[in-house]
């Protein structure tokens, strides 16, 4: 196997594994914040028990997100050195901004969120939770901006640098806000964030539904469902809307990707139909076993039933993306998204009418729903990333001047051999499989253990108060001396 294929496999594998965690951190972060907000408003201890429980789940997930995220931060340099030199000005800036604005915020306040329950007031704790959530959103902002810039580059020009007698192109910023707010940033960011929020809402619904099925922790489970089910409805609807907006713009920004995800091989003057499913065959440029709705693609893209959508034949053969994978992944994402929208709406109606707890089939569907939400998130990213091949940075036109793009095959590290990449793939494969097993095991243990009861929590708080009083009456402070204070 060659370095290119191996490096792509490694990147795909490590980023997909990493992406198990951040969307759950973002989505669960919001649910956790809402539980804590409810506690601050009502002072009902059941809300605090819920928030403490979700914090424990959140911490495990967040830890793995950090551990696998460090790999991503450096993988551009290790495996994609030529790419890193080409995009350093732009992509590096976004990564650095992510570090400064997002990671420090998240990791700092995470300490208070996880370890601060008995150290700070509920208000300060709520504020910390909000900051952790905000940090995870900022992180998504910068990384999706950087990714979107590669798909629809803007605010830059190409400068040729003389490297020991050979000219090498580099993309350099001309307009910072033009780069940040490139044509696809806002749509793709919205869709990514909403996808994460959908996952969080279904995750909380899933665990709560499980408790109802097992007749445990009723109080906490019901309260959490009253937050997670309505938010699941809102976010699945928003996901559909933002997804539609994103796809509509593709015809202008990345027509090759649009043609690939719809397996639209031939252009014609007729209105274009939409495949509901099928098996695209690139060799013969047909879709086997496909079911097509006439004129539907034209309608979705242009909001009218007549205009033809350009096909893949408009793109030079060497610039065409693969078709089968983006087509299937896109359709998987849309199918799962629609199913989740239906599930969220039906569950909310049942819950509203008080019939949810007796409908076991619906509770079981909710228990399994996070797997579908996770799969939809992953499938969406596979669509986006495979659909932009063979480019890692799309070519573009800026102010009437054509800018060259960078092909994925041109971005590799010159000094890295296939052997080295294969070894690191095996290493990641082994370690990540172990991590995955441990993650599932610990997550299951946390969920089986469940939240404390209100009585346990009250007892815990009384003990806490007692030991605090004791330490004051003994003249010493339980908090001890500060780091810089000298011990005697």
């Amino acid at each position: 196997m060659d370095v290119e294929l191996l490096s792509r496999l490694q990147f795909a594998g490590t980023i997909m594994f990493h992406y198990l965690f951040p969307p759950l951190s973002i989505g669960l972060g919001l649910q956790l914040f809402l539980c804590e907000l409810a506690y601050n408003r009502t002072k009902n201890l059941a809300w605090e028990a819920a928030a403490r429980f979700w914090t424990r789940v959140f911490a495990v997930n967040f830890g793995l997100g950090v551990a696998t995220g460090i790999v991503m931060e450096f993988e551009f340099g290790t495996n994609w050195a030529a790419y890193s030199r080409f995009v350093g000005d732009v992509f590096g800036s976004a990564l650095a901004a992510e570090g400064i604005f997002a990671f420090f915020l998240e990791s700092g306040f995470l300490a208070v969120l996880v370890f601060g329950w008995d150290r700070v007031s509920p208000k300060v704790h709520l504020f910390s939770t909000a900051m952790v959530f905000l940090g995870s959103v900022f992180s998504a902002v910068w990384i999706v901006v950087a990714n979107s810039w590669q798909q629809t580059p803007a605010g830059y020009h190409i400068v040729w640098h003389d490297v020991q007698g050979v000219l090498e192109p580099r993309a350099e910023i001309t307009d910072f806000w033009g780069m940040v707010l490139n044509p696809s940033s806002v749509d793709r960011l919205t869709h990514t964030l909403v996808g994460a929020l959908v996952l969080g809402a279904f995750f909380v619904s899933s665990v709560s539904a499980y408790y109802l099925l097992k007749q445990r922790h009723h109080d906490v489970a019901r309260r959490c469902l009253s937050i997670s089910l309505p938010s699941a409805v809102v976010f699945t609807v928003l996901a559909a809307v933002s997804g539609h907006d994103s796809a509509q713009k593709l015809v202008h920004t990345q027509p090759a990707k649009l043609a690939a995800i719809e397996a639209h091989f031939q252009s014609s003057d007729e209105p274009s139909g939409l495949y509901l499913f099928g098996w695209p065959d690139v060799e013969s440029e047909v879709v086997h076993f496909g079911v097509k709705i006439p004129r539907m693609l034209s309608f979705l893209v242009y909001s009218n039933f007549n205009d033809p959508v350009p096909g893949l034949d408009q793109i030079p053969a060497k610039d065409r993306p693969p078709v089968w994978l983006p087509f299937q992944m896109f359709h998987l994402m849309v199918t799962l998204g629609s199913a989740l929208l239906l599930l969220a709406s039906v569950s909310t109606v049942f819950w509203w009418r008080g019939k949810l707890e007796s409908s076991h089939w619906l509770l079981w569907a909710l228990v399994l729903s996070p797997v579908a939400a996770m799969a939809a998130n992953q499938a969406g990213w596979i669509t986006a990333e495979v659909g932009r091949q063979p480019w890692v940075v799309y070519p573009s036109v800026q102010d009437g001047v054509e800018m060259i793009g960078l092909r994925t095959s041109e971005g590799l590290s010159e000094s890295v051999t296939a052997q080295q990449v294969l070894s690191s793939i095996i290493m990641f494969g082994v370690i990540y499989s172990l991590l995955f097993a441990v993650w599932i095991y610990v997550l299951n243990a946390k969920i089986q253990h469940g939240p404390e009861t209100v009585d346990q929590l009250r007892q815990h708080k009384d003990d806490q108060l007692e030991s605090f009083r004791e330490s004051i009456s003994h003249g010493g402070s339980s908090l001890g001396g500060s780091l810089m204070e000298d011990a005697t």
């Binding site: 495990v60 460090i70 650095a96 400064i100 590290s413 690191s424 780091l483």
Partner: protein, 348 residues
């Protein structure tokens, strides 16, 4: 928007070189003590209770400490993309090992106390120790290679391998950083613990100090002989001699402060030693980011690795907004978790 455009490109490049130094200092001081705690924990802690105390002394802090390294990576990418590309692809194998160690540390902290079983804990304890000591070693090996120069061929293509990086000099630098971090970590642990555990920690400080001094003497002599280019700027600007001189005083001050019963002062001093080493490292490599031992013309310097004037100016704005925020909430967190470490329901 870009208020710093009035600074010339060269001035910005020097500022960014300095800022990368600040990030590395921040990382080495902060992650230095938690790597040190990881190295010491199988030796100082007698039972499960003490192990948990040791781990929880860095519990709320390690994660933020590692962000300094991540941000260093991002800043290097933005300010010196050519260096980012070449350094990390040259250290391909070593860097992947370092990543494995960092993952190993993160998950052993996270998972150790999640399941109550002796073999489970023993597994994560071992992993925590091995990944901490290897990470400290690998960071030193990378620094040693950068100091002595690497086999960099034409057009930024590295020609060496992991084996050529495991040369005696980088290994010696690795041992020095490992003992320095262990010493730094032991002083931190002394500050955070009390009673019997604190007494056990105390017994490690002086022996670690002696080993560190031995390595310090060895590394100073071998750098003097083996890495002649490291002296160029010291000779050019003799006032820079103040750094190694202060460093010697700082090193000698560690046992003095401990003897006077002022561990906070000792911790401050060992942090200063780390800063002094970082300054010396900076002076020694300047103006190269990666010196080529094949042909000096192939070296990656500040001037051929930097990003554009505009990018460096924009990123300075980002740093000017971001760094004060970072420092303020880092201080808040350290303040909230000040004092002796105690176990409670949310501890690891």
């Amino acid at each position: 928007m870009i208020a710093f455009m009035f600074l010339g490109h060269d001035a910005l490049t020097l500022i960014w070189f300095g800022l990368l130094g600040v990030l590395i200092c921040g990382y080495a001081i902060l992650d230095g003590f938690d790597l040190g705690v990881g190295i010491l924990h199988p030796f100082v802690a007698r039972d499960n209770q003490q192990r948990r105390l040791v781990m929880n002394s860095i519990g709320p802090l390690w994660d933020g400490n590692e962000v300094w390294l991540v941000t260093f990576g991002g800043a290097l990418f933005a300010a010196f993309p050519v260096a980012y590309a070449t350094v990390f692809s040259s250290f391909y194998a070593a860097f992947h090992l370092l990543l494995m160690c960092l993952i190993g540390r993160a998950v052993s902290l996270e998972f150790r106390s999640k399941v109550h079983s002796v073999p489970w804990r023993r597994f994560w304890d071992t992993l925590f120790f091995l990944s901490s000591i290897s990470a400290a070693m690998l960071l030193g090996i990378a620094a040693g290679n950068i100091l002595s120069g690497m086999e960099l061929g034409p057009r930024h293509v590295y020609q060496g391998s992991l084996w050529s990086q495991l040369h005696w000099y980088p290994l010696l630098v690795g041992l020095t950083t490992t003992t320095l971090f262990a010493l730094h970590g032991s002083i931190f642990l002394y500050l955070k613990t009390e009673d019997e555990l604190q007494q056990r920690v105390r017994r490690f400080i002086m022996p670690l100090f002696c080993v560190f001094v031995a390595f310090y003497v060895a590394i100073t002599m071998s750098t003097w002989i083996h890495v002649p280019h490291s002296r160029v700027y010291l000779n050019l600007h003799p006032w820079l001699w103040i750094v190694p001189v202060l460093n010697v005083f700082a090193i000698l001050n560690i046992p003095r402060a401990m003897h006077l019963g002022r561990p906070g002062y000792a911790f401050f001093t060992s942090s200063s030693v780390i800063v002094a080493f970082a300054c010396l490292f900076t002076v020694a490599i300047f103006p190269n980011l990666m010196l080529s031992t094949v042909d000096p013309n192939f070296s990656i310097t500040l001037w051929n690795a930097r990003s554009s004037h505009r990018t460096q100016a924009i990123m300075l704005v980002v740093a000017a907004i971001g760094l004060p925020c970072v420092l303020s909430y880092t201080s808040i967190v350290y303040w909230i978790f000040r004092g002796k470490v105690k176990l409670d329901s949310s501890s690891y």
